[in-house]
């Protein structure tokens, strides 16, 4: 598989937070989930990719092109949805579209009209009067109307009801039907990614903690339940997280086989993405 976007040694320092030489790549034809708790560095990373933040060091390459040198060509092939809309609230849907559309050489008016119709958006409605969900839909319509190859979305599902979140996931899957398309999707609501993500990148404190295929990640980890008497000095270090109660224990491990041998009667379950994220982000504190 070839990569569509490569981020190398991205560094950005703020007073109380920094992106620390972040490196990762996004594969063509994949939905990559970018997960992490609030303040982990997801938005800073995405804004850096979109050129809204100036990193102190690092490079961004898109399909072999250097962002610093071919910004216009690259941005022409990227669609984006930002967390708070970032629109001019006093403009109408149609006026905002009229501002944005000429920026893209491959803008497709018919596609935009189709999305607007599908989402039930009124072109003459002021953006300020749109609900959070409708504003997100408008952002999606703009992002998908110029035949982008990479769709970058920053927390698009936060503030949306389950119905709308599900609709958005369906849109992403539709988008991926076309060959060569990719999605980079940041969220702290990991359940959104359970159905759609192919790859997962976990960021915390400005550092990448995990970067793996979702299925491999879920296969390599397990949620284990059992009798507290089975927890001893040999088994305890095999857990990423461990919660003990008078009735038993529950924990998450990435050493399934070793634990299966140590406690063959324990219950092994497939974890959720959230289990894994929380284990790596706050695992040390929970386990000890």
């Amino acid at each position: 598989m070839t990569s569509i976007l490569e981020v190398n040694n991205l560094t950005k320092t703020y007073d109380q937070f920094s992106l620390d030489r972040l490196s990762f790549s996004l594969q063509k034809g994949c939905i990559t989930g970018f997960i992490g708790v609030n303040g982990a560095g997801k938005t800073t990373t995405i804004k850096s990719i979109l050129g809204l933040i100036n990193p102190e060091a690092g490079s961004i390459r898109f399909d072999g092109m250097e962002m610093n040198r071919q910004e216009k060509q690259i941005k022409n092939r990227i669609g984006f949805v930002l967390d708070e809309g970032y629109f001019y609230g006093m403009l109408t849907v149609k006026e905002m579209k009229n501002v944005i559309a000429p920026a893209y050489s491959s803008w497709d008016e018919q596609t935009f009209s189709n999305w607007i119709g599908r989402f039930g958006l009124n072109p003459n409605q002021k953006i300020a009067s749109l609900s959070t969900g409708m504003r997100m839909k408008f952002a999606v319509a703009l992002a998908l109307s110029h035949h982008a190859d990479l769709l970058i979305m920053d927390e698009p599902t936060s503030g949306l009801d389950p119905m709308m979140r599900s609709e958005l996931m369906a849109i992403l899957l539709d988008f991926m039907k076309e060959e060569g398309k990719s999605v980079f999707f940041s969220t702290h609501i990991t359940s959104d990614l359970d159905k759609v993500a192919d790859m997962l990148i976990l960021i915390d404190g400005g550092k990448i903690l995990l970067n793996e295929e979702k299925d491999t990640l879920l296969d390599n980890h397990a949620r284990i339940k059992g009798d507290s008497r089975w927890i001893n000095e040999r088994t305890r270090p095999l857990f990423l997280t461990l919660r003990e109660t008078p009735y038993g224990f529950e924990g998450l491990t990435h050493q399934k086989e070793a634990l299966r041998q140590e406690m063959p009667d324990a219950v092994f379950e497939r974890p959720t993405i959230e289990d894994i994220m929380l284990a790596y982000v706050g695992g040390a504190e929970i386990a000890h």
Binding site: K47, L50, G51, L52, I53, N54, E71, K72, Q73, K75, N76, F80, L82, E84, G85, Y86, F87, Y88, G89, M90, L91, E95, N98, V99, I100, P102, A103, Y104, S105
Partner: protein, 215 residues
């Protein structure tokens, strides 16, 4: 591409646009009909252009500051550079618009033609270039609020301080007089050239400042 961002700026202030157009058309007629002073008529384009330019620019800047649309635009292929270039073009288009309104007004009141010559327009153009040549980079560097207070400060200070300063200057009895080794036409042309040079230098500075900003 650039013109779309200029249109965007006019759309942001569409509620006030009609008022500004009417002001640019009616103000010279109203002022001229109440004065017989030719020097005032000569200053009319300069005065109206400055007032309307400042009001228009501050209004658009206010809308920019309360929304995050600039970041959205800069994330598209427009890029930061185009966004800044469009701000300067917006000021220029507004300048031309006000001038056009005054030409229209001068057909209704021919005495207004006194102020509509290359010299007066050139002086106004140079002043607009100087003012916005400083204002726009400052606004990008320090934000809208700082620039707004500078304007309010100037608006309050100038009427009170200009008279005393001029009287003090006259009391010194100093006379500067020098002549440039170019013809009158050449001097007028120089004003336009300076205005264009100032604009481009300022635009370059603004682009450099904006490149370093986190949006």
């Amino acid at each position: 591409m650039l013109i779309n961002l200029v249109i965007k700026d006019f759309m942001l202030m569409k509620k006030y646009l009609l008022f500004l157009v009417l002001f640019a058309l009616a103000a010279p007629i109203v002022i001229a009909s109440q004065t017989k002073d030719d020097s005032l008529l000569f200053l009319m384009p300069f005065y109206l252009i400055m007032i309307t330019e400042i009001a228009t620019y501050l209004q658009v800047s206010k809308f920019e500051s309360i929304s995050r649309g600039a970041a959205f635009i800069c994330a598209t292929p427009y890029t930061r550079r185009t966004f800044i270039e469009a701000k300067y073009l917006f000021v220029f288009v507004t300048f031309v618009g006000i001038l056009f309104a005054q030409i229209v007004a001068s057909f209704l009141l021919p005495s207004l033609k006194t102020g509509l010559n290359l010299n007066a327009v050139g002086a106004a153009f140079l002043m607009v270039s100087l003012l916005f040549g400083v204002l726009i980079p400052c606004q990008i560097k320090f934000g809208f609020d700082v620039v707004r207070w500078i304007f309010f400060g100037l608006a309050f200070l100038i009427p009170f301080s200009l008279g005393p300063i001029l009287r003090w200057y006259q009391s010194l009895g100093i006379h500067f007089s020098f002549s440039l080794p170019v013809s009158q036409t050449g001097q007028i042309l120089l004003m336009y050239v300076f205005a264009v040079v100032i604009t481009f230098v300022s635009m370059y500075a603004s682009i450099k400042i904006y490149e370093k900003k986190d949006l």
